[in-house]
Symmetry: D2
Subunit: 364 residues, 4 copies
């Protein structure tokens, strides 16, 4: 039913469970003759990979991606690109409790209510492990964007808050993002975040976060009126990332308090009618669902990890009361590793919209 | 390219421009043998219709919907339902300025950058007039939900804030919503809102708003893992409503400050394993992208109307600097009339997911 | 469920019943800035229109098409094009028998088995009247092809046989097709066909036919491997025309008797590597699902009209035995009026594939 | 662009090239809680596997299928089912000629004209090897049909002609089909076919064939009016099988010579209004695009294998004239191994339509 696919012209279908033999995806619609190898994908997976700092899960997966089809002699052929990562760290363990009990905040109970069955090992299909394939697909989307648009198109994400402690935007430094284990653009907040996460971990709890993705150099004209709106697709894509509960474009919730003259971004001549100059970017780069050439700005809030050591009342599959404590290796703040995932979704959606624009308006 | 359709099994395709001869939609996939007539649709359109209070645009459209196909002897036949509303109030006027100038905050410039052409009369395809067809489709979706689920499924929306003045949730009263021109659930805030809107109008400005839609009685099991998530589809659908810049599910942005044990909704035995009892609803009724039986809660922020009398710097199609003042009949707060639209999107998305659930899990 | 739509990037959704107030379609994905008016569509509808000769139904519909959206100042805008034809000749009559009895060979019984309800007036949704909208959509597709490819792309259809009497291909003359009421490319067969149809009509019977559509000047590269094959889409589209029971591409059924060296079309240098010279066209212009630049050739067989005056055993809705004679105005040979419909399907499918090619390979 | 997927609710996406590391597919939309293991799939693959007789290619692939996801403890979970077969017999060889020359009748030239690149090893994506995944998907579809409909639903295929020598239908025996290497339902024609194929092989040529697939026990009501017609989807699916050039439903091309009273299948009371009795089956079990409960009958013609030892004139990638002789291991008659593929497509399309019927009409 295409419930495991996204994109229209760049169509990504993912498959796999957390503790099955492998996870993978099929990317259909990639233009031919693009240079592509595992080396274009692996670095992005490494960025997302667990076990890299004490603030993310200690599960150790090498996450080595293989290209199984669609590439010949180093170039895409236009046929579907199949990517696969074998699950190497499926620890043998007792799943008795997790099989019988519903972990509050988790998909366990919802899957059972819908399907009457679930692969409970490590969360099965609802595990964040699936997001590795979005990152892989995002890497392919970046190759498409680089070739078809150019290197000026830049997609970057950052963590902007943990548990209510937000970065100081006046100190925003993209270079800093790559230098710390939090993807923080603000070097000075790192001690406070470290301290908070240490306390959270010790207490057996977890904490929520906010993050932001910005795409610069996006050509004007991506998106479509009414039901193919770029902002609507970003909202759907971002809300589909595990744990995301809110998505904002541009000023987001803030627009509710603005007056019209504060919100409307003034436009000024630029010499190039195809690249108008805007004096502000409350709109987050999108008007009427279509990109204007300004930076695309998407923000989101991610809930605290549901798997915590602290007990939460719940029930078993048989409807009996139980207190659930979720042991095992879990990120105290899943928001951190969501940053490369959100970047990847932005890349996929932009590449898809770009191809759609080629289709309908490419002849102009 | 299906840019003007939404839904997978209940597929709605809309067409029409603000000042063309008519607007309409085609609803495909409606189950057969449901009682349906214009009387099931017209009341919802009337609720959204402009010109009903001083707080909405004074454009006067009778908005009489006609069913052109798919219904026979008062019942749906399973074939596509075509709905049409003629545009009766297309005032003849001079569009010279609007044709040449880009109204800041509007889709004008984005459409021209994409298509190189736009129907500038009244905003053309980007006009909020298109949302009348979503309301009409939502009315059909309500009929489907009522027949296939039952009358306990209740979808209701309310305005929760104007320009930063929010309702007091302790005074929330659904009955009140139908009693005032703001769809406010809090009777006591109405004087403040009235005063604010009066001031906004006098100053030639506009103001943003927040609103909320709640669906109660939704069966568990709607939604799908990964890319057909109910919350992701709601986010996409809601963000696609004209002017929406942020969407929240459940606690929304608030989850970023929560700890795991605060966020996870405890579950208690209820006697019926298919209808577990939850002690809170931070999740907004959705876990892992699938409904749990709790109320579905979606909130959104809508920007202030871009059409304002106050001047904003802009450019013409030829790239020359200009100050734009948008005359004409405009809602000072488009958030108000967005309430029935957001309700309709909720209805359409739930009905679509219900049919999808029938397809895959109906045999259980 | 998109059961009433076809095409991926040029997406056509039709609606309407034979005796409802109107029929129509929505065409989504049309490129912007193409010149388009009713005058580009009406001539093709006139070609298909009933009541033009004694060999087609005497139902008299003016079939005046109206463009309701998507065109502004004579040009397409890139937004959905809504077309509508009002049903003017819905004779008031007694539908008692047709409502109760299942006409053998008709969709009546299948619709009831599926939906439990059907609009029996004139066949409702299963009436060939729906094909008027395919012809209208085909006319828009022709405009797209003319602008994006050029006037050398030529789509033409012809009737090649009636009741076993086939044209002599050595006398094939495209100019002749427009000169006779049968769309026959062979002037000399017309007397025989006239005589046969006269006899068929007198006896209250009907007769089958074969037809052929040829598209010349189609650029190489349209189609896709595996599941988007041009020949597969043509087969699906043609088999979906009312009454079609067989579709052939190129040599069709004839390939079953060929040897490899007879079937393979030899290729010769042409000076232009993008336009190779083929010495024969057994393949019908398609290899591996992709056009080669040779003429695309599709043939099909259409069954005799199911509505006949001669009695055929059948049952009523209540399961009682009955003899059905179908009175009313019916084409003795529905194959004739299928010619412009088949042409239109070819045009729609080629235009759709062209846009898809732009999307994926347009950057090369 | 979904060019490598088929089905709407049971959605199959295939990937892989003939000589890449593996081929595979992802099946999305399978209902949960069906018993499924490799043992349900492998026998059908074995039936199609090359190297089983002297009449099929001598390439030796063990074709061992692995289920990589979507099945847990022997049951489907409702999440995507990933299947993979490793390519074990990729002989190292010199591809110099095949890389430079276009084999007439093959997809080589079309791929290059479209993509400007192709994986020429063994035909790459256009190799019939891809059909192994259709057979695998068909096996899953059979499991769905068996569980949701019952064992009375029976899908069987047979070869009906080779090079113009057709079976005698009066000797049709389904049991015989499993007993010979031709899938022939007529034991007596086997010596003639053997002799013909032996001669064809010796001469370095190949030969065309006809085949037929029949589905019995199909419930009435599958299919949809206008663009989701069961016959149209069968035609598209069958024409998409490598080498198929014609598809017939029911009487197929034969209807062109029939009169209305010969073609219309008379209906008689059966006691069960949901299972009417038909006195003939010219329609091939489908009326108005919807199944009637009668056997679904599809026939097709397959061209002779394009890879032959006999020389055919062609050109190189550089446009130079050349004579092509295709060495290597090839079926002299690809029609034989197409039988299980055609059966599989029938199974997939019926299962997909069944789920669609559940969605829209399941509530009746």
């Amino acid at each position: 039913m295409s419930e495991n696919s996204f994109g229209r012209l760049l169509r990504v279908t993912t498959w796999g469970e957390s503790h099955g033999p492998a996870i993978g995806c099929v990317i259909d619609g990639c233009p031919p003759r693009l240079k592509l190898s595992e080396d274009d994908i692996q670095p992005w997976l490494d960025k997302r990979r667990p076990g890299q700092s004490r603030y993310t899960t200690q599960r150790r997966e090498s996450d080595q991606v293989r290209i199984l089809s669609g590439v010949f002699e180093g170039q895409t052929t236009g046929t579907p690109i199949s990517l696969m990562i074998e699950n190497t760290d499926q620890r043998s363990r007792d799943y008795g409790e997790i099989a019988r009990q519903y972990r509050p905040g988790h998909a366990d109970i919802a899957y059972d209510l819908k399907y009457g069955i679930r692969d409970y090992r490590g969360g099965g299909r609802s595990s964040a492990r699936e997001t590795a394939m979005r990152v892989a697909a995002g890497a392919v989307a970046r190759v498409i964007l680089r070739e078809l648009v150019g290197p000026q198109l830049l997609i970057r994400g950052a963590l902007t808050g943990i548990g209510g402690q937000s970065v100081d935007r006046s100190r925003w430094d993209w270079a800093e993002v790559e230098q710390n284990p939090f993807f923080s653009p603000d070097a000075e907040i790192i001690p406070a975040w470290s301290e908070q996460l240490e306390a959270v971990r010790k207490s057996g709890s977890s904490v929520g976060a906010t993050l932001e993705v910005v795409a610069e150099g996006v050509p004007a004209g991506l998106g479509a009126p009414v039901y193919g709106k770029l902002d609507a697709e970003l909202a759907g894509g971002m809300m589909g990332i595990n744990g995301v509960k809110a998505v904002e474009i541009g000023d987001g919730m803030g627009v509710a308090s603005l007056h019209g003259e504060e919100n409307a971004d003034p436009i000024r001549p630029s010499g190039n009618p195809m690249e108008p100059a805007f004096l502000s970017n409350h709109a987050g780069g999108i008007l009427g669902g279509i990109s204007t050439g300004q930076p695309i700005v998407a923000r989101m809030a991610i809930k605290p990890t549901s798997s915590i050591l602290l007990p939460v009342p719940s029930i078993t599959r048989d409807g009996e009361a139980v207190e659930v404590r979720t042991k095992g290796r879990h990120d105290p703040c899943i928001g951190i590793r969501a940053v490369p995932v959100a970047e990847a979704m932005m890349a996929c959606i932009l590449a898809d919209q770009l191809l759609r624009n080629h289709a309908q308006c490419g002849w102009l």
